[in-house]
Amino acid sequence: MTALLQVTDLRVTFAAGTAVDGVSFTAHQGRTLGIVGESGSGKSVSSLAVMGLHRNAIVEGSIVFDGEELVGASPSRLRALRGSRMSMIFQDPLSSLHPYYTVGEQIAEGYRLHAKASRRAARERAVEMLADVGIPSPRARVADYPHQFSGGMRQRVMIAMALVCEPDLLIADEPTTALDVTIQAQILELIKKIQEERGVAVIMITHDLGVVARVADEVMVMYGGAPVEHAPARQVFKTPGHPYTRGLLDSIPRHDLGGGGPLQAIPGSPPSLLTPPQGCRFHPRCPIYARASAEICATERPAFIAGLACHYPGAAT
């Protein structure tokens, strides 16, 4: 299986510090990669770098999309790819939609630009897309403004906008975090259905391990700007290799297991990117380090080998 997107050793540096420090992953057609992490883990910054959406950031490493290197590509080349061959949906659909334009105009815009379609054809296409994403009476609603839609319906509009040019890669950055759980279920079903029908590669970025368990084939767990574990979804959930993954899974409240008892919390808080800890970035919170107090964890950053960045691989399971 050839990779549609291959990211190798990505580094993103802002004036304030390095947000992403050595991230590699691939995305394949028809498959979903889940990128999980807490705030500041670098999961969103990585995906924005793929889309070339960073200003004032130094992007290093390699991002190869369908055989083409995107690091250092011209802004006009990135513009040509964005919205046509790769698209993104964001967490908050209201702030990502323009309040002054009808949803039809916003969906049609990308289609007119990339497919060089006429105004009328683009409008027809917008109606078709609204129907595809499950908006009732699309012909009437195409002329409505974003504020006339509910949160879930707005996210459907965003998805219609992202898919209008039939992209090969869809990056969804916390697409359901702002939505209620019953609406979240609808949107996740929709993304899954679209993927099955069109065979797009999906990168699902989220803090919610439940969402990842529902949709992802493969999971990359990020901490402090770099991946700590990357494996097939089932393996990550059943036999997590990294103590952070293990801790994260144990700290999630589960209503299906009866609830009631205390939770297994991870002590401390996620690191600041401005002053990341020396050595393994997880070591100040790590139970293995606390137990064995291994000096290497505090001094040396573990290399990412066989899907795991830990000096004591296997100790977590």
């Binding site: 759980v181 391990l209 992802a216 959930f237 609830g259």
Partner: protein, 305 residues
């Protein structure tokens, strides 16, 4: 023993006739946690705010510790404030940025001296070194600990927690849930725990009330309600929560509700859940169901599961 808090037919109608809370009744015993769950706009936060009188109820009654406090004057309410506290969702907007942690915790009434403040800081997992810092110097989890310490300074009997962990990272959420549980054991506190996250509520509460469009649709013991919901909305809500286990996610039966919750300004006739309910019959469109006993808990449904 009479309950610590008794809420009876509580109502809140905002301008424009929006009935945000439409006849909610429940009680909370001393040392107990009642979870109030529901999606945005269901009236759970409005209910919490009416209990502590941040909002003036439009109707109904709130009885706290045997006293009717529904319309007590501000002056009479003040002595009760100590017994009835609140923890908010966003620790940063609910802490004064120009006061140190110690000033925030001891409050305008200087409830605690320096030693007392530091002792309380230690009980919520912080220390003396944090006493003179300002809110912006704390992480989200630490700031929420200060919000909790502030609520506890007056040794309350009841704390209303309004989404206290939903702004926090997963690993920090668990810390705060555990802290709230520990403090409850130590102090014999009662909580009304308001949240949209059913899993968090499952770890916090003894009983749970599920709200939909301003009303309680199901209320009962946590285990009874979660293990075998009687109301179709509760059933859908429980099944919609993603579980961190790919095998379970693949196999489990999931009820995906159609559409959105209706606009509370113009709620549908009959059962307000009927437009999204797979079991809706004619009577559901005509007559609003009332809470009645169904298999060990109360549910408001004409055709409970």
């Amino acid at each position: 023993m009479s309950p610590l808090l008794d809420v009876n037919d509580l109502r809140m109608t905002f301008r424009g006739g929006v009935r945000a809370v439409d006849g909610v009744s429940f009680s909370v015993r001393q040392g107990e946690t009642l979870g109030l769950v529901g999606e945005s706009g269901c009236g759970k936060s409005t209910t919490g705010r009416m209990i502590v009188r941040l909002l003036e109820p439009s109707g109904g009654q709130v009885t706290f510790d045997g006293r009717d406090i529904t319309h007590v004057s501000r002056r009479r309410l003040l002595p009760l404030r100590g017994d009835l506290q609140m923890v908010f969702q966003d620790p940063f907007t609910s802490l004064n940025p120009r006061r140190t942690a110690a000033q925030i915790i001891s409050g305008p009434r200087r409830l605690l001296d320096r030693d007392g403040t530091i002792a309380l800081l230690e009980r919520v997992g912080l220390g003396a070194e944090h006493a003179d810092r300002y809110p912006h110097e704390f992480s989200g989890g630490q700031a929420q600990r200060i919000g909790i310490a502030r609520a506890l300074a007056s040794r309350p009997k009841l704390v209303i927690c309004d989404e206290p962990v939903s702004a926090l990272d997963v690993s920090i959420q668990a810390q705060i849930v555990n802290l709230l549980r520990k403090l409850q054991e130590e102090e014999g506190l009662a909580y009304v725990f308001i949240a949209h996250d059913l899993s968090v509520v499952a770890h916090m509460c003894d009983r749970v009330a599920v709200m939909y469009l301003g009303r309680i649709v199901e209320i009962g013991d946590r285990k009874t309600v979660y293990a075998d919901p009687a109301h179709p909305y509760t059933r859908a809500l429980v099944s919609a929560v993603p579980l961190p286990d790919p095998d379970l996610e693949q196999d489990r039966e999931r009820i995906v509700l159609l559409g959105d919750p209706p606009n509370p300004a113009s709620p549908p006739a009959g059962c307000t859940f009927n437009p999204r309910c797979a079991k809706a019959q004619n009577i559901c469109r005509q007559e609003a169901p009332v809470l009645r006993l169904v298999r060990g808990r109360q549910a408001a449904c004409h055709f409970p599961d």
